[in-house]
C-alpha cells in the first residue's frame, strides 16, 4: 500500500495504517526534536506528543501531500514549545561519531567543524542542521522552521559564510 492509500486508511481510523504512515519518518523526527530541544528525553516526549497531535490533525491532511514535511512541522512546533517552556535557547550539542565514515577521504576536522557550527547564531544553527545534518530539502526545512523557502535559501547562504569564517 502506498503512502496516499495508507493516509486514507489512517483517516478512516486505522491505527495500523497511521503507524505505517509515520514509522518511516521517526528517526528524522526524533533527531529534529533533539536538535531543537538539545535533550534526548525532551525529544522523545516531543515526538510522542507530536504523534498524538498528528493523529488529531489527520482529518485535515490534504490527500496526495507528502507526509514527512507535515509530520516534521508538527514535531518541530512541539519541540520548540517545549524549549520555550523550559526557557532555553536552541543550542546544538552534537558530537562527531568516534570513527570517521569510510567515504571521508578529505582531511576534515569534524570536531572543529561541529564546534564552529555550535558557535553560530540560533537561526544559522537551525537551518544548517536541517539542511545538512538531517538532510531535509529546502521545502521541508521551510516547513520545519516555519519560514518561506526563500528565507531558507538566504539563511543557509549566510550561515555557510559565517561557518566558513569560524572554521577556517
Amino acid at each position: 500500500m502506498d503512502e496516499v492509500a495508507l493516509v486514507a486508511a489512517a483517516q478512516r481510523g486505522g491505527e495500523d495504517a497511521f503507524a505505517a504512515v509515520v514509522r518511516p519518518h521517526l528517526d528524522v523526527a526524533f533527531r529534529l526534536a533533539y536538535v531543537i530541544t538539545g535533550s534526548a528525553a525532551e525529544a522523545e516526549d516531543a515526538v510522542q506528543d507530536a504523534l498524538v497531535k498528528a493523529w488529531r490533525a489527520l482529518g485535515r491532511f490534504r490527500a496526495g501531500e507528502p507526509v514527512r514535511p507535515w509530520l516534521l512541522r508538527i514535531v518541530a512546533n512541539e519541540a520548540r514549545n517545549r524549549r520555550r517552556t523550559a526557557g532555553r535557547r536552541l543550542r546544538l550539542a552534537l558530537r562527531a561519531a568516534h570513527e570517521p565514515p569510510p567515504a571521508a577521504a578529505e582531511p576534515v576536522d569534524r570536531q572543529a567543524l561541529l564546534e564552529a557550527l555550535h558557535a553560530l547564531p540560533e537561526d544559522a544553527q537551525a537551518v544548517l542542521a536541517c539542511r545538512y545534518l538531517l538532510g531535509l530539502s529546502e521545502q521541508e526545512t521551510a516547513a520545519t522552521l516555519d519560514v518561506a523557502p526563500g528565507t531558507v535559501k538566504s539563511r543557509t547562504s549566510r550561515a555557510l559564510e559565517r561557518l566558513r569564517e569560524l572554521y577556517d
Binding site: 491505527e15 516526549d45 515526538v47 510522542q48 498524538v52 498528528a54 569534524r110 561541529l114 545538512y132
Partner: protein, 212 residues
C-alpha cells in the same frame, strides 16, 4: 555543493538512539481525551503546588486524577493507608456524594469529595465523582516510575507503579503512595492503591467493583 557543504553533510553526528515510540497510543489517547473532556476533568490541585511547577515534565489527566511527571519528588510523608481514609460515612451519604452507590459493600470513609473503603491487602478503593471537588494529584518521579495506560474491563485507566510517588488529596497533606490503578467509568473515577498491589491483583479487585 561546496567543499564545506559536503563536509557538513558527511559529519556523521553521534545521534542518540531513536526510542521505540508507541504508535498505537496516539489514537487511544485521543479517544481518552474526548471521553475525559466530556467528564469535566478536575485539575485544581495541580496549581496548589507552585514549588513543583517549574519541574513539571508532563501532565496526564484521567478523570478526577492528575498525574504529573516531575524531576524531583516534592516533600511527602509515608503514612499508613488506614490513616488516610478520613472520617466514617454511611452508605447514603456516600451515595449522595457520588451520585450512585459505592462500588463495594464495606465500611466507608470520606475525605473531602473522596469516598474510600479499606480492602484486604491492605488496599484502598477510592471513588470520586469526576468534575466536582478537589482532584487527586499524583506526582511521580520521571525516571523510574512506571506510568502505563491500561484498560480496566474496557474503561480507560492508568497503572502507576515502581519507584516512590506522592499523592495529594486535600485537605490531607501530601503522602508517599503505593502502587495505584486508576480508571474512569461514566461519572466516577476509581482508584485502587496498595503498597504490594500488582497490576494483576488490581485488575481482579477492579472486576469486583460495581462500576456500571
Amino acid at each position: 555543493m561546496t567543499e564545506l557543504e559536503r563536509a557538513l553533510a558527511r559529519l556523521d553526528v553521534e545521534w542518540p538512539a531513536t526510542p521505540a515510540f508507541d504508535l498505537r497510543r496516539p489514537a487511544r489517547r485521543q479517544a481518552w481525551l474526548l471521553a475525559l473532556a466530556a467528564a469535566a476533568v478536575a485539575v485544581g490541585v495541580a496549581f496548589a503546588v507552585p514549588q513543583s511547577r517549574a519541574a513539571l515534565l508532563r501532565v496526564l489527566h484521567l478523570g478526577g486524577v492528575t498525574i504529573e511527571r516531575v524531576r524531583t519528588l516534592p516533600p511527602a510523608q509515608e503514612r499508613a493507608l488506614a490513616s488516610t481514609l478520613g472520617t466514617p460515612v454511611g452508605p447514603a451519604e456516600a451515595e449522595a456524594l457520588l451520585g450512585r452507590p459505592f462500588g463495594v459493600d464495606a465500611k466507608l470513609y470520606r475525605s473531602g469529595a473522596l469516598v474510600s473503603a479499606l480492602l484486604p491487602g491492605p488496599v484502598v478503593l477510592t471513588e470520586l465523582r469526576t468534575g466536582i471537588g478537589p482532584a487527586v494529584l499524583k506526582k511521580v518521579v520521571a525516571t523510574s516510575t512506571d506510568v502505563r495506560p491500561v484498560r480496566v474491563r474496557g474503561a480507560p485507566g492508568v497503572w502507576i507503579a515502581g519507584e516512590q510517588h506522592a499523592v495529594f488529596a486535600p485537605p490531607l497533606p501530601p503522602r508517599l503512595a503505593g502502587n495505584v490503578l486508576v480508571w474512569v467509568r461514566g461519572p466516577i473515577t476509581y482508584r485502587l492503591e496498595g503498597k504490594e498491589l500488582t497490576l494483576e491483583r488490581a485488575q481482579q479487585l477492579a472486576a469486583g467493583v460495581r462500576d456500571r
